[in-house]
């Protein structure tokens, strides 16, 4: 077994282009996931029971089914009822909704872990529930929430590789395209692994850096 270095050389820039798409998808899906996740997490802290039930059913469904099936649902099943996205947006939406469920749980847990006396003190000065959440509880919950939050986003980035099955031309798909022409699975899959590894490492260093810059309370 010898490595075909010519293929490696050809592949490096092609895979780099795929990496850019992977990053773009991760960024957009990540931002959406945070927005939806925070909204769901905060809504699940409301005292309006039906809302809490709906959100907990949603979270339960997302966590209880494979991401791949969720991707298929968005890309193949939704068009049947008239909701159509191109493959990139279908992928982004599936990833964002999947990750948002985990983020919602992180938010709910983080806010719930703030000491009870904080809520009581805020009540004692007459704050409304939403004010207590936004001015007292959330700011204190952000610090402990950050590590699980960045972990969710990093594993979402890894999960973008699943979008190759609906022909999103991201990193994995870019590699598969090379393999299908040159039939060099050993070199390309190895390269893919290295690309993902470097990407994920960079992201985790970045998130540890953010965490270290967050002031401790």
């Amino acid at each position: 077994m010898s490595i075909d270095w010519n293929i490696v050389q050809t592949a490096i820039p092609l895979l780099a282009r795929g990496t850019v798409v992977t990053l773009q998808i991760s960024l957009v899906a990540g931002v959406l996931a945070c927005i939806i996740g925070f909204a769901l997490g905060l809504a699940s802290l409301s005292n309006f029971r039906p809302l809490r039930w709906i959100i907990s059913a949603y979270v339960d469904f997302v966590r209880g089914t494979p991401l791949l099936i969720q991707v298929f649902l968005v890309f193949f099943a939704l068009p049947v009822i008239g909701i159509r996205f191109d493959e990139i947006w279908a992928g982004i939406i599936a990833l964002a909704f999947n990750t948002s469920a985990y983020i919602a749980e992180t938010v709910r847990g983080g806010v719930g872990s703030v000491e009870r006396g904080q809520t009581e003190a805020a009540k004692s000065i007459g704050m409304f529930r939403w004010q207590i959440l936004s001015y007292i509880l959330l700011p204190q919950a952000l610090r402990p929430m950050l590590p699980p939050l960045t972990n969710e986003l990093i594993s979402m980035t890894k999960n973008t590789s699943l979008l190759s099955v609906i022909s999103v031309y991201e990193l994995t798909r870019a590699g598969q395209a090379i393999i299908s022409v040159h039939f060099v699975p050993f070199e390309i899959y190895l390269l893919l692994a290295l690309y993902y590894y470097a990407l994920i490492k960079a992201l985790s260093y970045f998130s540890r850096w953010i965490e270290s810059r967050m002031p401790a309370l």
Binding site: E120, A121, A122, S124, I125, G126, F128, R129, L217
Partner: protein, 269 residues
């Protein structure tokens, strides 16, 4: 205001609280006049803290009513009676009651100044500038002008509790409830907190103070209340209650206190 229309700052009627099968407050009645300082004493588990928490509705009473300046707390009138306040209504009604907690409960992510200013801004609607100016003024009343920019963890327990007091008075409530304000403090820090409270009390603040500091109670109280097993056993001026307690239970409690300032009072009957 004539005698017939006299409205107390705080009126508590028939206040009862049960946790499961345990009755912690039994049918407590209490009026506090405007400007009055009422000190509540009693053994731990006698219901003092629960009384304050039920008055402020941090704990919802099982039965009974609370009115501040004649305005109901925790209930709203409906056709033919009353119904419980919504959470939002309660937040508004509660604004006339200040609360100082045993464990301070300052907001750790905010400076001393912002701990006081946040309520002025978000609840009372002052501009950021006005809120901060007022907050600084209130912090000076508890002698903390030099510490406005510090976070709670940079302050001693006594300083933290004084910030908490400033936070409460800044809202200009009708009445302030102090729940064992010095119990969580190191002994050498108790005095500065009591001095701050004493100063506010002589300045006309209306308050109910739960404390184990008997000499403080003697000095500052207009009226002392002794509670045991969820009821008010006896009340009177400090001279009456400390000098000549009528009830045997009160006597036993106070005797125990003069013997030992730290021990748990005898609860046998």
């Amino acid at each position: 205001m004539t005698a017939e229309t006299f409205v107390p700052a705080l009126r508590v009627e028939g206040l009862t609280k049960t946790f499961g099968t345990k009755t912690v407050l039994r049918d407590v009645d209490l009026d506090v006049r405007s400007g009055e300082t009422v000190v509540v004493i009693g053994a731990s588990g006698s219901g003092k803290t629960t009384l304050l928490r039920c008055v402020s509705h941090l704990e919802l009473p099982t039965a009974g009513t609370v009115d501040v300046d004649g305005r109901p707390i925790g209930r709203v009138p409906v056709a033919g009676g009353w119904k419980n306040s919504s959470e939002r209504q309660l937040a508004i009604q509660r604004r006339c009651i200040g609360f100082v907690f045993q464990r301070f409960n300052l907001f750790p992510h905010l400076t001393a100044l912002d701990n006081v200013a946040i309520g002025l801004r978000k609840v009372r609607g002052f501009s950021a500038r006005e809120a901060r100016a007022r907050a600084a003024e209130h912090l000076s009343k508890v002698f903390l002008s030099d510490h406005v920019a510090k976070r709670p963890h940079e302050l001693s327990g006594g300083q933290q509790q004084r910030v908490a007091i400033a936070r409460a008075i800044a809202m200009e409530p009708t009445i302030i409830l102090f729940d064992e304000p010095t119990s969580a403090l190191d002994p050498e820090l108790v005095r500065e907190v009591l001095d701050a409270i004493r100063l506010l009390a002589t300045g006309g603040m209306t308050s109910v103070i739960v404390t184990h500091e008997m000499s403080f109670a003697r000095q500052v109280a207009n009226r002392v209340i002794y509670m045991d097993e969820g009821v008010i056993v006896e009340q009177g001026t400090p001279a009456e209650l400390f000098g000549a307690p009528r009830e045997p239970r009160t006597r036993r409690f106070l005797e125990h206190f003069t013997i030992s300032n730290t021990g748990r009072p005898n609860e046998q009957h």
